[in-house]
Amino acid sequence: MSSTVGSRRVSVREALADNGALAGLLVLVVALSVSAPTFLSTQNLLNVGVQAAVVAVLAFGSTFVIVSGGIDLSVGSVAALSAMVGAWSSAEAGLPGPVALLLGLLTGVVAGLVNGALVSYGRLPAFIATLAMLSVARGLTLVVSQGSPTTTPDVVSFLGSDLTPYLPVPLLVMLVFFGITGFVLSRTYSGRAMYAIGGNEEAARLSGIDTRRQKLVVYALSGLFAAVAGMLLAGRLSSAGPQAAVGYELDAIAAVVIGGASLSGGVGRATGTLVGALVLAVLRNGLNQMQVSPFWQQVVIGAVIALAVLLDTLRRRTR
């Protein structure tokens, strides 16, 4: 009889070959420890973690969106708007810090729900809906702030501080959201539905999955994660800026894609995204350490993104 339902063995080699980004990260780390002696210092490594945190949290949110076959271009603007609403509610409206924080997070969720409604019920292409939100949210940030930075309440500033000298809060937040993302993607109905919708929306619908409601959930999560990232960013500076997080949506998408997700949907994992965000942060940090000019840094980072995806595509094709 020809039927076999066994299990597959996965070796370390396969795991590395299977995750080009992880291999790339290791290569980067080794190369930098050799060429930039300060790279491996505890302080610097913690720095990398803190630098990665904002993009990583944004990217975790984008992972949901990309896995379900969508795209969210608004996360940078939504991050800025949420942080600004939080800061304004406390500094200008005089609300207690925790309430202000909640209002900020709620702002992200609402922005995400609007995106989701436009995509699933309004049938707008995700690219268009979230591009519109990118502009609207940025505009609202400027309206709320009147164009100037606003001081954040203490709870928000705490998010950017160090718990002990060796324990920066952003790093903790990043790890917590990494855990949440992995959990949602692998254990929850919504997470599993995301893979099905991204892989074949019609098949998902015909299997009785409420594709439209699930897309609302997806964009709402992305909005919430963007809001958290916005708080981290503002917390580090103890101030929410009207031009904060401009262009971060591209870093978020890059992190997800470097992490092995497919922009056509159905594929992607929390670990991949974490590695992707770390690759970007390590690269930026390393280039700084080697005193490469910021102009050239942009060129290098762009090239690395293209290379990562290219290698990934080639690897898939040769199987």
């Binding site: 076999t4 929850t188 099905a196 019609e202 015909l206 299997s207 009785g208 497919s262």
Partner: protein, 480 residues
């Protein structure tokens, strides 16, 4: 010899798909490749075509021999028109610009050759799956190759189209073309084959001459005999579980009524374009309808709402496994668990262990040939993918299961296993609506047969009717 392959071996992670296979094609013959799902037929075709390079072995072509392949999975571009697909990558040009008029004319000619009457400007995605297959065939024919390989082209075709294709193949054979033909329909093999090479588990287990008996073919292929091809076990029908009443959508179907009782298998027969798929999709809430009603166990099912239909106890195995049945980016296990994902989840959390256990049980019951539940479903052979689509709905155990061409591309042995599971469902008081273009299948497995023609119910026939009676109703004309 036009083409000759020696000692071909090809492995994928964990599976030896081909193991030392010899295969050749002579001018003016139809060489059939026969084997169970996952035996390695498509893999061999891909090696011949140079899609896969073999781990060992050689493929030799005599000088100047061109090869055209119709792969099992359609390769058309859905958004492009029929004409654009026919001339994909080689459009007729004038002054460097695509000559649309000439392209349209050429497309008409190619479509005529296969007897397909559709407007060349229609987008391929708006065609039925059988029509898409005919377009694919037309495209391959235009290459004027010396070797033509057809990987299960008839799986999605009905009788008339299959007849047409076999005629074309016989024609080409007369002109000295060498044909490789894969099919799970043994009657087609008896009609056209000059030689039959049987594969089992990646090995060539024998070559049969023209006129070999069906019994012999099955024996070689599955290693045992099959006593009963259609093992339907009837029982007394119970209450009406599915009632479709006066269903109408302008231009698609008109005043369609029928019912299915608990314990019954009701077949739906008809020609391509008779509106069978349209009706069941509408009843299941996938598409809209203008008037009429659908009831499951006496409760009305809301229109155009798949979720509500599923909750009411309906299930549908769609006809297009790649487009509507499978999530190709996901694993075998995830696909099998797709329908039960929601109903077994608690507080939004997936029942991971239960889902895996059920998926494993179903994969075993259907003998899905896979290296494990974590294997990407896209790596399975066509027939095994089809089993996964059926399996996910069998797991959901709906009150009424609608099967639209469920055994497409499934081998003779596995068909019997699917029929046994249908028996088990009806024995447990479920109802099954079986839409199929495979006449022996509808007649062999149904307790009653509803025949549709031109979007209407043309009549109903009892079990044990004949193909002629079904066809007589299926070609019936209605006054306008």
């Amino acid at each position: 010899m036009l083409l000759s392959a020696r000692n071909i071996t090809k492995s994928f992670t964990g599976v030896k798909a081909l193991d030392g296979v010899d295969f050749d094609v002579r001018p003016g013959e139809v060489h059939v490749l026969l084997g169970e799902n996952g035996a390695g037929k498509s893999t061999l075709v891909k090696v011949l075509a140079g899609v896969h390079s073999p781990d060992r072995g050689t493929v030799e072509r005599s000088a100047g021999t061109r090869l055209a392949v119709i792969h099992q999975e359609l390769t058309l571009v859905p958004r492009l028109s029929v004409a654009e697909n026919l001339y994909l990558g080689r459009p007729p040009r004038r002054f460097g610009i695509v000559d649309k008029a000439r392209m349209r004319q050429g497309a008409k000619r190619l479509l005529d050759r296969v007897g397909l009457s559709v407007d060349p400007d229609t987008a391929v995605e708006d065609l039925g799956i059988a029509q898409q297959q005919m377009v694919e065939i037309a495209r391959a024919l235009d290459l004027d190759a010396q070797v033509l390989v057809l990987d299960e082209p008839t799986a999605v075709l009905t009788g008339t189209e299959t007849d047409r294709l076999l005629d074309i193949m016989a024609d080409l054979r007369g002109q000295g073309v060498g044909l490789v033909f894969i099919t799970h329909h043994l009657d087609e093999i008896r009609r056209i084959a000059d030689r039959v090479t049987v594969l089992r588990d990646g090995r060539s287990v024998g070559v049969l001459p023209r006129g070999a008996s069906v019994r012999r073919m099955i024996e070689l292929m599955v290693g045992r005999t099959i006593s009963e091809q259609y093992p339907r076990r009837r029982q007394d029908p119970g209450e009406v579980l599915l009632k479709v009443d006066g269903l109408t959508r302008d231009g698609a179907f008109h005043d369609v009524s029928f019912h299915v009782r608990a314990g019954e298998v009701v077949g739906v027969a008809g020609l391509v374009g008779a509106g069978r798929t349209e009706v069941v999709r509408a009843a299941f809430g996938v598409d809209r309808y203008d008037s009429g009603r659908v009831e499951v166990a006496g409760e009305p099912v809301p229109r155009h709402d798949v979720r509500a239909a599923v909750r009411a106890g309906l299930g549908l195995v769609p006809e297009d496994r790649k487009g509507q049945g499978l999530v190709l980016t996901s694993t075998v296990g995830d696909n099998l668990g797709l329908v039960t994902l929601r109903s077994t989840a608690r507080a939004g959390l997936v029942d991971r262990r239960g889902q895996r256990e059920r998926a494993r049980g179903m994969a075993e019951a259907l003998r899905v040939k896979t290296s494990g539940l974590d294997q990407p479903v896209r790596e399975l052979s066509g027939g095994n993918q089809q089993k996964v689509v059926i399996g996910k709905w069998l797991l959901a155990d709906p009150k009424v299961l609608v099967l639209d061409e469920p055994t497409r591309g499934v081998d003779v042995g596995a068909k019997v296993e699917i029929y046994e599971l249908v028996n088990r469902m009806t024995a447990a008081g479920r109802a099954v609506l079986l839409v199929s273009s495979d006449l022996p299948e509808v007649i062999g497995m149904s307790d009653r047969i509803v025949v549709m023609a031109h979007g209407r119910v043309a009549g109903e026939l009892p079990a044990g009717t004949t193909q002629d009676k079904v066809m007589a109703l299926a070609v019936q004309e209605f006054p306008a």
